[in-house]
């Protein structure tokens, strides 16, 4: 059966679409990188638990977008903070929705982080060669909790105030560094306008910057090292043998490691000897 010849109009249309993409690809290689990311190989028996990482990322992006919008209306000063939150919630169009997304999304983000961490732990996905990604994940979790702590003060109501009093005093109880840490976090001896301003800065700029950088690194390592199979698969249980001339190893029992050409897998005979 002969393939139908594309009409000239269709060819022109394709050229029109492809031209800018090709232009970008030729100069940056970004299109190829995106294709590599989207169409990379994953184990056959991935399941819904593997989506927890993407879900966490999505929750973070929601926090990022809603947070930036909230920052357009929020005023980080002791006199105005509480009033501006009331205005966002009650007066501004859809303000209640965006603030609600940010407020509840914060909890969703933390919950998903823990679920994702649990998945990684129970699947054994923290083992060689992915230990570094686990460590990065732990730092990400800490930063996310720090986001929760600093964001909690910003509504500047009684809950915010006393929760922060206790939280900072817990920090101030750290041995040796405690007295310094307490005053540094408060911006002085007592909670006041400096505390609010620096928590706002940490919440808005410092910690999100760290999160974005580490998430990038986290994803890079996920792509480089690949996705682990669930522990109940035949491959993970060692029932399947590695083919492709790499020696008679049981697949799930052989640790994948980067080969000379940069791809993952068990080493071939020559590579092992070398």
């Amino acid at each position: 059966m002969a393939r139908r010849q594309k009409s000239k109009r269709q060819q022109q249309l394709e050229a029109l679409i492809m031209a800018p993409i090709d232009w970008l690809e030729e100069r940056s290689g970004l299109v190829g990188a995106l294709k590599y990311f989207l169409f990379r190989k994953v184990p056959a028996e991935t399941n819904w638990f593997h989506t927890l990482g993407s879900a966490t990322l999505t929750a973070f992006l929601v926090q990022l977008v809603t947070g930036v919008i909230l920052a357009m209306y929020y005023k980080p000063s002791p006199e105005e903070a509480y009033g501006s939150i009331q205005k966002i919630t009650n007066d501004l169009t859809l303000g209640w929705l965006v603030r609600g997304m940010h407020r509840w999304g914060a909890s969703v983000f933390i919950i998903l982080l823990f679920l994702h961490m649990g998945r990684v732990f129970l699947f054994g996905a923290y083992k060689y060669p992915r230990e570094l990604n686990w460590l990065i994940g732990v730092i990400l979790l800490t930063l996310a909790l720090a986001e929760g702590l600093t964001g909690y003060l910003l509504p500047w109501d009684q809950t915010a105030y006393w929760a922060t009093v206790v939280a900072i005093n817990i920090n101030a109880n750290a041995p040796i560094v405690g007295p310094f840490l307490g005053d540094f976090l408060r911006g002085g001896a007592e909670i006041g306008e400096e505390t609010l301003a620096r928590f706002y800065s940490l919440h808005m700029l410092v910690i999100p910057g760290g999160l974005i950088g580490l998430i990038t690194l986290h994803l890079y390592l996920v792509i480089r090292l690949g996705v682990t199979e669930p522990p109940w698969t035949r491959a993970a249980a060692g029932y399947e043998f590695v083919e492709d001339g790499r020696g008679p190893a049981r697949k799930g029992l052989v640790e994948p490691r980067p080969r000379g050409n940069g791809s993952l897998g068990t080493p071939t005979q020559e590579e092992a000897e070398a």
């Binding site: 006199e79 005093n169 101030a172 007295p179």
Partner: protein
């Protein structure tokens, strides 16, 4: 024409076997810095100019000494005769350069980069950290006439500790007028800040009707409390007796207190201080006072080594 054509080929003039460069040196940079300092100093400050002049002289001398070192060196350090070196082989014959030009450039680039980075970063870091520690003076707070503080009875006193920060500066102290001892007025002024994690403690007693007093520090609310048996914290159950000594729960020391003074018939709060424990009662109390510490920080006992005193508080 022939001469010009041959030169790129690597056959330079006969009497100069290899191109001659002065040995690498750092002194010109330091010399230039000295000149710059001298010029800036002429405008700003004679002392800077003097330092710049000294640098110019010192580093100029070092530069000249180094630049002329080859000329001044005795000719004994002549190259090994070719006959002897033929045995050693071609590669071993060439001594490795002490400071290859590339290494020098690399190091100086890194060094200058680090210097610029440091100059930019350090003041910013200092600005981030220092203001939290510098200038932590505590404002005096006027609490109004002494007549509002009945003898031998606790009153809950709520006041503004910082005038410009609105409600955030509101603090509460439990004040008891102990009368006069040795011709000096005595007050027990206990901060309501729990010594565990800083929650507000409450007096255990019968609160009466509060009243508002206008003072120079703003409005002061004074509420008398009858038969106070101690203080309790709602957060984690810390409990204190009526001198602020811990009786139960997680606090690590007694409740903080305030210094006070009396000015023109008004009670004025001074700076707060921390208390290890109080022995005795009311006007006869012996107070183990320490520099103010955050809640939860030990001021006495062996654990105090874990919490260096806040030396930056005046």
């Amino acid at each position: 024409v022939a001469d010009e054509l041959e030169r790129p080929g690597g056959e330079p003039v006969e009497h100069e076997a290899e191109p001659h460069f002065p040995s690498p040196t750092i002194w010109p940079f330091a010399f230039a810095a000295g000149v710059a300092l001298l010029l800036v100093g002429l405008i700003i400050n004679w002392i800077l100019a003097a330092i710049g002049a000294v640098l110019v002289l010192v580093f100029g001398f070092l530069w000249i000494r180094e630049a002329t070192s080859e000329v001044r060196r005795p000719p004994a350090a002549a190259p090994v005769p070719p006959a002897a070196s033929e045995l050693a082989g071609a590669e071993e014959e060439e001594e490795p350069e002490r400071y290859p030009r590339s290494v020098f450039l690399e190091m100086s680039t890194l060094g200058v980069g680090a210097l610029i980075g440091g100059i930019v970063t350090l003041p910013a870091l200092g600005f981030m950290v220092a203001p939290a520690f510098v200038g932590q003076e505590h404002d005096e707070v006027d609490l109004g006439p002494l007549a509002n503080f009945p003898k031998d009875q606790f009153v809950i006193t709520t006041f503004n500790s910082k005038k410009d920060e609105g409600s955030v500066g509101r603090r509460t102290a439990f004040i008891r007028n102990n009368g006069v001892k040795n011709d000096l007025p005595s007050f027990t002024i206990i901060s309501n800040r729990c010594a565990h994690l800083g929650c507000p403690t409450q007096p255990q007693g019968l609160p009466g009707k509060g009243k508002q007093v206008k003072a120079s520090s703003g409005t002061v609310t004074i509420t008398p409390v009858a038969s106070v048996s101690g203080f309790q914290c709602p957060c984690h159950g810390g409990a204190y007796d009526d001198e602020g000594n811990r009786t139960a729960g997680p606090p690590v020391r007694a409740l903080d207190r305030y210094e006070f003074l009396i000015r023109e018939g008004n009670l004025v709060l001074g700076k707060p201080y921390s208390v290890g424990k109080v022995i005795g009662q009311a006007a006869d109390a012996k107070i183990e006072a320490y520099r103010i510490a955050d809640p939860g920080q030990h001021v006495d006992g062996p654990e105090k080594v874990l919490y260096p005193p806040k030396f930056w508080i005046p």
